[in-house]
Symmetry: D2
Subunit: 358 residues, 4 copies
Amino acid sequence: MTSPIDMTRKIPVAVLGATGAVGQTFIRLLENHPWFTVAEVAASERSAGKSYAEATRWLEGELPANVAKLTVTPITQDAVRSPIVFSALDSSVAGDAEVAFARDGRMVFSNAKNHRMLPHVPLLIPELNADHVRVLDAQRKHHGWSGAILTNANCAATVAALGIAPLHERYTVTRLFMATMQAVSGAGYPGVPSLDILGNVIPYIADEEPKLEAEMGKLLGTVQDDVIVHAPIRATSHTNRVPVEHGHTVCMSIELEKKCTPEEAMRTIDEWQGAADALNLPSRPLRPVVLSYRPDRPQPRRDVNAGGGMTVTVGRVRADNIFDLRLVAMGSNTIRGAAGGSILNAELLVARGVIPRA
Amino acid sequence: MTSPIDMTRKIPVAVLGATGAVGQTFIRLLENHPWFTVAEVAASERSAGKSYAEATRWLEGELPANVAKLTVTPITQDAVRSPIVFSALDSSVAGDAEVAFARDGRMVFSNAKNHRMLPHVPLLIPELNADHVRVLDAQRKHHGWSGAILTNANCAATVAALGIAPLHERYTVTRLFMATMQAVSGAGYPGVPSLDILGNVIPYIADEEPKLEAEMGKLLGTVQDDVIVHAPIRATSHTNRVPVEHGHTVCMSIELEKKCTPEEAMRTIDEWQGAADALNLPSRPLRPVVLSYRPDRPQPRRDVNAGGGMTVTVGRVRADNIFDLRLVAMGSNTIRGAAGGSILNAELLVARGVIPRA
Amino acid sequence: MTSPIDMTRKIPVAVLGATGAVGQTFIRLLENHPWFTVAEVAASERSAGKSYAEATRWLEGELPANVAKLTVTPITQDAVRSPIVFSALDSSVAGDAEVAFARDGRMVFSNAKNHRMLPHVPLLIPELNADHVRVLDAQRKHHGWSGAILTNANCAATVAALGIAPLHERYTVTRLFMATMQAVSGAGYPGVPSLDILGNVIPYIADEEPKLEAEMGKLLGTVQDDVIVHAPIRATSHTNRVPVEHGHTVCMSIELEKKCTPEEAMRTIDEWQGAADALNLPSRPLRPVVLSYRPDRPQPRRDVNAGGGMTVTVGRVRADNIFDLRLVAMGSNTIRGAAGGSILNAELLVARGVIPRA
Amino acid sequence: MTSPIDMTRKIPVAVLGATGAVGQTFIRLLENHPWFTVAEVAASERSAGKSYAEATRWLEGELPANVAKLTVTPITQDAVRSPIVFSALDSSVAGDAEVAFARDGRMVFSNAKNHRMLPHVPLLIPELNADHVRVLDAQRKHHGWSGAILTNANCAATVAALGIAPLHERYTVTRLFMATMQAVSGAGYPGVPSLDILGNVIPYIADEEPKLEAEMGKLLGTVQDDVIVHAPIRATSHTNRVPVEHGHTVCMSIELEKKCTPEEAMRTIDEWQGAADALNLPSRPLRPVVLSYRPDRPQPRRDVNAGGGMTVTVGRVRADNIFDLRLVAMGSNTIRGAAGGSILNAELLVARGVIPRA
């Protein structure tokens, strides 16, 4: 992870929804970031005016000292002045707030679902669809914004899309069956009550299946005439909550347009590097997708931190009895599938010069 | 659960592999059984000659007093004299041992995989395929046995087959995608090390997928010319181990020959009673399959004991994006999926008069 | 569990705080109760006016049909008319509400901490201190109530007190060291977030240690001059939350006034029956305290349902290096330690004739 | 963690019992060690002759490439030639094997219990009792060894001793009550079956309590006349297994000879640095003991990796009702309490010049 940028002049960034679980992960990942520095933290009225340390029930590791003492601001474009805005807002407020920032000229990198499916809003994974950034001019023109909104996908969709990306690029995925086993951290904090999940499986996550199915097509889509056209993938899914802390596991059966053997598939996954654009971004892992040859991997507790939480591990590549291939993909829902994904997206925009270096 | 039989003259039964986890479940379920009484317990050389209490690390609840004092015998047809033999043997020894008992005139009800796929051996679930018993004469003739072997299916296959049985009977399942989340008790004792499964998912269970896929066709098959002909179902599966004590959950996408709406499917499941033959068997639950209308059910910890562990709970019946329907089935792997299933099978044979009442 | 009362004329009871976790346990345990029938369910303004089924997210098993259709009433003595009132109210509202009912002539059996330590309010465990009921006249006189308030102890205190009661009666406990490992259900629903407790221990439960320590003395105290005088036990405690669904485990080191060997202690525990008054109460288990001789018991998952959740299991009785004895006690926090304990208390009052049979 | 030693000439070390869980942790921690390099791996006959990769079911992270290809040797002083020997042997074989190596001139750093309590064998924690190394000459003379055996303590004893060390040094601990909640990794692999511990507590660990109690006195003892004299601490304990992956938690009530307030105790813990000898050792964490001021800490899942697993976190310092103080200590059983502790011990011997630099 190289950082060719002048480290003495980092770009100030703001985190919206900074006190929640995703907001905290942003702050944790941005500590010591080579290009960005957390200059502002914004949260709901209840927290505004307090110091961040005071306003927050910090969940994991140590709260970075420089952020601890920041004063929490309201979530308005007047109170928050940073040119880059990471949004960890709840979808109940993200819609209007993010638009207000985009209209005001900011680059908004959002985890919320609100704008994900708009045709001019990239659902961005740099290794996979960096060129979706090309729709930004149309976005600005269409909406009349001087800034822009870029989104990252649902956490399970991110893992699934990266898991099949190498195969899709070469063989074209046409139909896709998915069954997920998702970690409790995907539900935020306090999230899932322990009485519901200890020693149990909940075969349902509200609104998750439609999101997962719809986002796969957009993530693997292409840019045509300034809009993102979905890949013609038919996807169906079963989403489940399991008593795992971090790491979403996705079992997939895949139909391919061009046929390949499991061995060819494994070689393809093993060789895949992803889009060249992403290669030198600071948060980009050595390998965005790693193939495990052990028969019983990937496993969330053992593989979730691969590549600092930015690598998706794929395993059990084998023939399917109905479609062509079966495999399992697993990745971090909190890092790659949320805050880490957003940060990587922002890095791509800086590297491409869309966002000026400080 | 009625018991029209004379309780003063119960049929003596033997449990082979009595000290293991499945063997213990047999003994627990047979305590106070209206028709059967555990007269003999057989286990490996290491245990033979000891009292059952001494030879066994009893896992759940209280060891029934009358069994505690039985002397463990070797697993031979000379040492074990009961007419009904429940086999909880490991597949490494079940093959020869079960044949020896069948040849010697005993009715062997087996949990082992060894003889499951033989064309004259029923893979029996009374509510589902009671008429498969019709192949027994051919079995005896073909193998030259005076007794017989009847098997119950793999625990996940049992849950899946009961879950789709109501739909298959009316609409005919043609293709089937399954993803399982299986409890640790399915691996026996000591089974899965806690270091492997605490807060984790293992996306692999050795040899499970081929068994699950193959057994579905046989379970839902028909008898033609004295052999069981598999239903032409194409099945594919992903089997996973999860940190759940008891209860296997199976997510399924189902293609049907005759189309139906989710509402029709729900009505069909709700009305299903299973084969009339099974109705008055002592271990038969009030309902072999129960439909839950709650959006987040079935759940293993909350539903595994439905019908005393003999009922499979089905939920989340909805349309599929690729096939026709999606649903989730969950049932007890240790009761319905193992010892309880075998006992129900033996009850069917007694009720049909194949096994004479004492 | 005998029920000599005329079952055709059950006593109507009300459950206050009926929609919460403890309220639900009351309703579950009172289904088919031989003496009581749930006639009224009361809850906060938000729920009042709805049917109970509509107002409640039912957590365990099936909601009893007769209660499902009851209309939830407000928590006022005008709206609720039953002579017996079980209070599962949160301590933030229990104080005033329970007094209002007692003043109005009702017998209030409370799980809340608010009135537990008042000198005229019994902290009742029938097998242990049934004669504490003698202070009720003084309570009425002192407070000017025509009804009364009877409380049951903190769930951990209940388990600990029953665990040492046999020894205290014969040898007198003088000093007591306790370390608890408490189930998540002790915190109610939604209670402990799964992100806090999966694969973790939280060595702190807010306000638990002072309650546990103070209540031990009162539970084991005696009635003198119409007030309950605490036993002079010096108690110290460490309370911990562990990833267990139900069942609080308490490790104890005990100093005794009269010395005894571990063997004598075990015999004493084994023989203990508790107060004769309690013997024929419907919810009284066969044995209030059971001694396990297995080296690694009691265990919450395996022993929590002993005696229908009303039996405390004691094990590992051995010499202590500082005090006299060490042992482990484990019992159900939701049954014996909460709703079941309250119901048993009400049964005692009926059996003693303090509450008239219907 | 400074490393003033010439890194081009590392000291070759051997790991005995290299394929087990503790052996693997040694290999993981020694990867990139500035002073030591794993030159030899020894294990039982069954593994000898195979490559380490072949002989081992590697549990955590990636197997270091240079060790993967080493050939496993038998556990004999002829086959193993390294001057430093880390013993992760099971106690059933450690006794004789370690003596054989010590007699042959090797410095043996052992995790096994066999020699821990011998009066001339240090039970070493460098920050706590570095001067116990002074008995080594007497050890050699007494046993006629040209090498030596140094042991590290039981994992729970290590956490408890470091937790109270700051207070003991200043105020002298005289009596000590301990209740532990120990992680499953303390039982090795496969260790605790998941069916025993999922959602459960086991209030018993075989042989653990006597070890824990006895070792506390030796760890905190002093050297007099060439033997280690135990500190006159009376200790009693309750040891429990809980469903936690890594990290032992110990609740303690402490009696002190010189009284102090909780505030003074906290200050004392906060200021403690441990023996100066340990300060520059490579594996020594910045702080061997860290005081947490949060009310609900330490917690194993959140604090076990403090100081790379070498720091013990102490919290909840408060007054005790019977003794003087209560507190909770938590630390890594696999790092500080096992392999990491041994490595630190070896570093101390190198830094003191007892072991010559390569």
